[in-house]
Structures are given as structure tokens and as C-alpha cells.
């Protein structure tokens, strides 16, 4: 499978796996039990050194939905600030509803993921700036509050809640440019903090890509947010002009994503590349890049400038699907590298300690 993509530049740097040395007479006699000389010990019986994170499906979905909500928040805020009422409304409206959906589901997913969900409020006991999980909790809470207010004001604007009613009046009083701006900033934080959260661990894959993981996640947040808005927009009759704009935003985010993921995979240490790209999750991440970034880019390029709703539909769907695959692959691939002692030794290598010479 990996050979299929061997023309990709970042795959060329993976050194071929070493074939297992033939068994010596003594090893055969000991039937699998390791019997090694002093010089042959490079790990503790190949056992994992660090523990892996317990995160699974709630976190895969949260990282994806939270990213969509973050991107949609940022895009809808920018659209509101820059456009006039009649032009930007469809983007702003859908952006707010989509982020509300994400902002409601996300905390629920995070609480499910806690092993003691009844104690979720303990998260708000302290604020620790060096703990991205703590920072992220506050970002999610704050963005959820302003996102809720803005979505409620959108409901009033769309005539779903009468403006004269008490809730309608309350919403109009509380929602303004400030809440909109805060949602945009919160969205940027929501899109990127998850990457910082992963990189502030000892897990080899995540720790090694500490410079780019936040930017990668933010780029996917933008592309996925734009894709989600245009997908729902397509189904609810959005103007061609706005669809084209969203497609351009997707493209910008896609280019940034592609550049960052390529750069990151190139800069990984060979042990980590082997542990990550050699695992099934590495291949899923690769598929995520191809499906969510390369394929949409080629589709957009091939289509020309003419608005094409069918192409737009497929591009949005691919971007969203690829975004999920990439996040799933990075989470699970990171967990796989944490169980690989060679990968962890590779990132914790220091100067050798003075050891007496032993004869080979």
C-alpha cells in the first residue's frame, strides 16, 4: 500500500524496515525467550516507555466538529464585519447555526469522554495557561456562550422568534458587534488549541510536530468550516456568488494545510515516520490529505471559474470527510507512536552517558 505512494517526496525519506537477523543456535534453543548480550539492549524488551492517551471516538468527533464550529464562527464573523446586510446574510446565518450545532455537541462529547463525567465542573476550578486543555475548556465555554447569543439573535432576525417577545428583546439587547467579534476570536482559538493540546504531551508524533500541529488544525478548521457552510448552503439555495467565495476560502485553507502537512511529515525523525506512516493510522492520515486536500484542489482547478453546484457539493463533502480522516489518523497514529520505544527514544536522545567499552 505504501509503495503505491512511494513517488511522494516525504515517503522517500522513510528508511526501509530492517529484516530480522537470523536466529542463533542459542536463541532457537530458548524458543523465543530473549537472550541478549549486554551490547544488544537498546530498549527494555521493546516495551512501551510512556502511556498512551485514552482518547477515542468522542475525541475524534469532537476534534472534527469543534474545528468545523471554530472555522464557521471565524468565517461568519468576518463575513458580518465586511459585507453589507443583503450580501453576506446567507454566510452569516448558516455559519452561526453550524457553529451553534458544533458548540452544543462538543461539550457533551467532552463530558462523555471524562471518566468521571459528574465532575466536569472541576475543569472550571482553575485556569492554567500552560495546560492547553484548561485553556481550551475556557475557550469552548466562552465561545459557546457568545455563539449561543449570536445564533439566538439570528433566530430573531430570521423571524423564528418574534422580536417583540421577551426572549426576542433580551437577545437583541445582548447581541452586538462585540459578541460577534468574540465569537470570531473564540473560533480561531477553538480551531487551533486542539493541536497545541496534542503537542504538549510526550507522545512522539505530536510532540515532534509541536510547531505545526496547531496551524494544521486551524487550517482544517477553516476549510471544514467553509465546506460545512457551503454544503448546507447548497441544500438551502445559497447564491452562486457566495458559494464561489466559500470555495475560494476552502482553497486558501487547503493550500496552507497541504504545505504544513508536507513540511511536518518531512521533518519527522525517521523512527517516528516509520512508526506513524508504517501504521494503518498513518495511511488513514495520508488518505485524509489526499481526499480532503489534494482531490478537492484538483477538482476545483479542473472546473474553471464557472459556478458548478455539483462540483461544489463533491468538493465540500470530500473536504469534510478528509478533515475527519486526518484528525482520526493524527490522534490514533500518535497513540501508536507512543507505544513504540524506538520512537520515544528518538525524541529524547541526549548525549551518551560514559559507559565502559565492552567487547563485541
Amino acid at each position: 500500500m505504501l509503495q503505491l505512494f512511494s513517488w511522494l517526496p516525504f515517503l522517500k525519506t522513510i528508511p526501509p524496515a530492517q529484516p530480522a537477523p537470523p536466529k542463533t543456535e542459542v536463541e532457537k534453543r530458548h524458543n523465543g525467550r530473549q537472550r541478549k548480550n549486554r551490547n544488544e539492549f537498546t530498549t527494555y524488551y521493546n516495551r512501551p516507555i510512556i502511556k498512551k492517551a485514552h482518547w477515542n471516538w468522542p475525541i475524534w468527533i469532537y476534534f472534527w466538529l469543534g474545528g468545523i464550529a471554530g472555522g464557521a464562527s471565524a468565517i461568519s464573523t468576518l463575513a458580518e464585519l465586511l459585507g453589507k446586510k443583503e450580501q453576506n446574510r446567507s454566510i452569516v446565518r448558516l455559519g452561526r447555526y453550524i457553529s451553534l450545532f458544533g458548540l452544543v455537541i462538543s461539550p457533551a462529547l467532552l463530558i462523555i469522554d471524562l471518566q468521571r463525567p459528574e465532575r466536569f465542573l472541576h475543569m472550571l476550578r482553575v485556569l492554567k495557561l500552560r495546560s492547553p486543555l484548561s485553556v481550551g475548556t475556557y475557550i469552548l465555554t466562552a465561545t459557546g456562550i457568545v455563539g449561543g447569543i449570536n445564533a439566538a439573535s439570528q433566530l430573531v432576525e430570521d423571524g423564528l422568534v418574534p422580536p417583540e417577545s421577551l426572549p426576542g428583546k433580551l437577545v437583541q439587547l445582548s447581541s452586538n458587534g462585540l459578541t460577534s467579534g468574540l465569537q470570531g476570536i473564540g473560533g480561531l482559538g477553538l480551531g487551533s488549541y486542539t493541536g497545541v493540546l496534542l503537542s504538549a504531551t510526550a507522545t512522539p508524533l505530536w510532540a515532534e510536530s509541536y510547531k505545526t500541529l496547531g496551524p494544521i488544525f486551524l487550517s482544517t478548521a477553516f476549510s471544514n468550516g467553509a465546506a460545512a457552510i457551503s454544503l448546507v448552503g447548497l441544500l438551502t439555495g445559497m447564491e452562486d456568488e457566495n458559494l464561489a467565495t466559500l470555495e475560494q476560502i476552502e482553497q486558501i485553507a487547503n493550500v496552507s494545510e497541504l504545505a504544513l502537512t508536507t513540511l511536518t511529515s518531512l521533518s519527522l525523525k525517521p523512527e517516528i515516520q516509520r512508526a506513524f506512516l508504517g501504521s494503518v493510522y498513518g495511511k488513514v492520515s495520508l488518505a485524509g490529505v489526499l481526499v480532503g486536500q489534494v482531490l478537492p484542489f484538483l477538482l476545483q482547478r479542473s472546473g474553471g471559474d464557472k459556478p458548478d453546484r455539483l462540483r461544489n457539493f463533491w468538493v465540500s463533502l470530500l473536504v469534510l470527510f478528509g478533515g475527519f480522516l486526518l484528525r482520526f489518523g493524527i490522534i490514533e497514529g500518535g497513540k501508536a507512536t507512543s507505544q513504540n520505544p524506538q520512537a520515544y527514544h528518538a525524541i529524547t536522545r541526549g548525549e551518551a552517558r560514559p559507559m565502559p567499552q565492552t567487547e563485541q
Binding site: 510512556i50 485514552h54 492547553p132 487551533s192 487550517s219 486558501i252 541526549g350 567487547e359
Partner: protein, 308 residues
């Protein structure tokens, strides 16, 4: 005042009394009776219910002809041992019956390394910095302690530990690790493992005193011919800093399952935030420009339409 452990692996006999004493005092459940087959280590690793773990490194001479099997090679061996830094005085011991022994200073001989691993109670602890609830604190004894009544099982401390110590309990959900017997220390007693250790391989005390003892021990061992002895976790130039539970080792750290140069996962978080902020700026400007251009175009078209 900070208390800690000095674990001298050259004194460890692998009796696992520390594991048992820890389990008993802290009322930790058994982990089952699975045999690993890799060595006498059937505990495998530290975990939520295992706060001491004795590692067994069996370095066996795989050569069919052991160096001592041939008495005629005696002279050669003596000079070789001397060249390796071994003590010639120790050689008579090697030649009792011509079989390999675990004598120090003889690098070809088989040997067992045993190390009782434990939470290191790092100076800069990754778990403590990661904990978003403030459940993990530093106690008055300098140890890192998980408060079970605060922990909500978010599990972020688990991948944040550079030594793979803290873990979530499967049935309970909360994170657990060595407490450095906080309750016993409160009563002025030493931790259960140190109390139970029959060879004083595990020493408990004030860190500064322990360091003195440890340095003395390294010098002693070197004098006796164990050239590879060194301290792990003392005077470390890492972002984790010195370890409140440090070790005397005689082989590379990796052999014992320890990282050569551990790093504090949070030490680079500022740069990660900054890079994300730069990316946010670039993407915001790009998106804003795209939107602005599109809205201007739309306004222009609308204006033309109105003029028509």
C-alpha cells in the same frame, strides 16, 4: 524541605518486596497472574494500581564458549579485565570453577540488572502542569500528589508524563500514581517500599542527604571496578529537571526503559500558541480578503443593475 527516593540498582536483588509492600499499604488490587516470558518481570510497567515496578534486565552471554570455561585463558582474561578497568584483585573470584560469574569489571560475563522503578516526582512535572482541574499538586514534602477527590478522569496527565508513570484506573476512571506515601510521611514514617526493602536498595530521605550518599556510592563502585555506575536524575540538564526519586544505574537508561533525556511536554507550549496565532492571522487575512473582494464585486454588479 523535599523528600525523595534514592534507588541504588546495584543493591537490588529483585525480591519485589517493595511492590508487595506498596500494594499492601495503599490497598491496591492485584494485577492478575500473567507471565510475560521475557524475564522474571511479570509486572511489566507502572500503572494505576502498580506504583513500584521491579525491572529485570537479563544480559546473558550468548556465546557458546563462555570466557571462563577454558582455564588456559586465565592469563589473557586477567590482562583483559585490567584493560577494561576491572580490578585484578577481583579476578580470583572469577576462577573458582571456570564458569562465568556476575563479577563486576568483567564485561563479557552475564549479568542481571534489577531496578525498582517508581514515580520520579519531577522538579518540573508534566502531569502537574497538564492537569486542568488542579487535582495534581505539589505537597509540602516536595512530592507530586493526585488528589482523588478532585480528579475527574480527563486523562490528560497520562500522555503528559515523560516516564509513563501515571495512568487511569480502568474500573474507577481516575488517575493514580505513587503518592510517596503521603499519609505515612504525615505521621513521620518512611514510605512502605523503602521500609520493606531488605537491602536498602531503596533509600528514603531528604534529597540533599540522599544525593550525598548516592555520590559517595558511585565513587565507591568506581573504585571497585564498576566503571559504568552513574546517577540518573541528579544534576540533569533537561526541562524536567532533577528527579526527586533518582537512581544509580550501571547501563544506558534505555536498557531500564528510561528516556536518555526526558523533556517537559509543556516547555514548548508558548511556541505552539505563537505559531497558531500566526496561522490564525494569515488565514484570517486571507479569508477576509476573499470575502471583501467578493462583496465588492457583488456591490458593483448591484450598482450596475440599479443604473440600468
Amino acid at each position: 524541605m523535599a523528600n525523595g527516593f534514592f534507588t541504588d540498582t546495584t543493591l537490588c536483588i529483585g525480591c519485589k518486596a517493595c511492590e508487595v509492600a506498596c500494594k499492601q499499604w495503599n490497598q491496591l488490587p492485584a494485577d492478575g497472574y500473567e507471565l510475560t516470558g521475557m524475564s522474571y518481570d511479570n509486572t511489566v510497567s507502572l500503572g494505576a494500581t502498580t506504583w513500584r515496578h521491579v525491572a529485570f534486565v537479563e544480559q546473558m552471554n550468548t556465546k557458546s564458549q563462555l570466557p571462563m570455561a577454558n582455564q588456559g585463558q586465565h592469563q589473557g582474561n586477567a590482562s583483559r579485565a585490567a584493560a577494561d578497568g576491572g580490578s585484578p584483585a577481583a579476578l580470583p573470584l572469577l576462577n573458582l570453577n571456570g564458569t562465568a560469574s556476575l563479577q563486576v569489571g568483567y564485561p563479557e560475563a552475564s549479568r542481571w540488572l534489577m531496578m525498582s522503578d517508581v514515580c520520579k516526582h519531577c522538579t518540573n512535572a508534566g502531569c502537574l502542569e497538564a492537569c486542568p482541574t488542579g487535582a495534581i499538586v505539589r505537597t509540602e514534602f516536595g512530592s507530586v500528589y493526585v488528589q482523588p477527590d478532585i480528579c475527574n478522569g480527563c486523562g490528560y496527565c497520562v500522555p503528559a508524563c515523560p516516564f509513563g508513570v501515571v495512568a487511569l484506573a480502568k474500573d474507577d476512571g481516575r488517575a493514580f500514581k505513587c503518592t510517596l506515601c503521603y499519609d505515612r510521611q504525615k505521621e513521620g514514617m518512611e514510605p512502605a517500599c523503602a521500609k520493606a526493602c531488605p537491602t536498602d536498595s531503596i533509600l528514603f530521605g531528604e534529597i540533599e542527604n540522599l544525593k550525598q550518599v548516592a555520590r559517595q556510592r558511585v565513587a565507591e563502585l568506581k573504585e571497585e571496578g564498576e566503571e559504568g555506575a552513574y546517577l540518573y536524575g541528579v544534576d540533569e540538564d533537561t526541562s524536567v529537571g532533577n528527579l526527586n526519586a533518582f537512581f544509580l544505574l550501571t547501563d544506558k537508561p534505555e536498557v531500564y526503559g528510561l528516556p536518555q533525556k526526558p523533556f517537559l511536554p509543556q516547555s514548548r507550549v508558548g511556541e505552539s500558541y505563537l505559531n497558531s496565532a500566526i496561522a490564525a492571522l494569515v488565514l484570517t487575512v486571507g479569508t477576509a480578503f476573499t470575502l471583501w473582494r467578493s462583496f465588492r464585486k457583488q456591490a458593483k454588479i448591484q450598482k450596475e443593475r440599479e443604473e440600468w
